[in-house]
Subunit: 158 residues, 2 copies
């Protein structure tokens, strides 16, 4: 019986260690959140490969508090919704979703990356995570110089 308990504990410990990277939840309902601002990133920009297209930022209510106070509370979520930029007849319109980027504030879960969890969902698909355990190098490294603004680049506008 004792060995059976030990084996069971071993399996449980392995499962725990496999789940060690805290996961950013998919931001259900984000299209109803407040539109913060937008930008087009064009060919020739150093971030074109990763972020070329037209992107919109959205914020939930906790993130709106953060934009106003300069310090984002736990539960704040900022969305970077990147769509293809479709050039047609002297317009730039929106094409399909390239990636849905998420910053999710949780000081405890994401203490290694400034209290923010970072994730990207390819094509907006909740099952296609493109950052996973690489947030420190893939995301936080670029945000780190923004420490005085709680690691956030964007600002609310009228």
């Amino acid at each position: 019986m004792k060995s059976k308990i030990l084996v069971t504990c071993g399996i449980a410990a392995t499962a725990l260690s496999l789940q060690a990277d805290p996961e950013v939840p998919y931001p259900t309902g984000y299209r109803d959140w407040q539109h913060v601002k937008s930008m087009v990133i064009e060919q020739g920009h150093p971030l074109y490969t990763a972020f070329g297209g037209i992107h919109h930022l959205y914020a939930n209510n906790e993130a709106l508090k953060g934009y106003r106070d300069g310090r984002f509370p736990n539960g704040a979520v900022i969305i970077f919704d990147l769509l293809e930029a479709v050039h047609e007849g002297n317009t730039i319109g929106e094409g399909s979703r390239k990636v849905l980027g998420v910053m999710h504030k949780d000081e405890d879960k994401f203490s290694a990356t400034g209290g923010w969890g970072f994730e990207g969902f390819a094509g907006g698909d909740p099952s296609r995570r493109v950052v996973a355990g690489n947030a420190a190098t893939a995301c936080f490294a670029c945000h780190q110089p923004q420490k005085d603004r709680d690691y956030v680049f964007s600002a609310l506008r009228d």
Copy 2:
């Protein structure tokens, strides 16, 4: 006394006729409404003079019902928020507000223009109305071919 009453009535009638064009209310709080979609209109486009820049569409709850049902109820408001497009380092960002366009559904007040009131507020300033009594020619003429879609060009997207 009789002539005094007649004069008073005459003044009242004149005031009424001066107010005959129904006014579209300024859409207070529209930046909290749902972001529908965005587009950049560039030089060379036939509407560049009027609508060049980056614009965002927002919808209130009644307008969201209209997008879903194909028929917009009274009280539906759609915003066309036009900002300067700022080209810088292979990005197109947002500059100052050029005009805040409004479509406001009220079948009775705006029966002459498909049930929609049209207005533009220069620079987003509630006191600078640029359409006023010219909605039929300045706005509705372009929207009229969209009759089957209740005179609306845009559509909701994911």
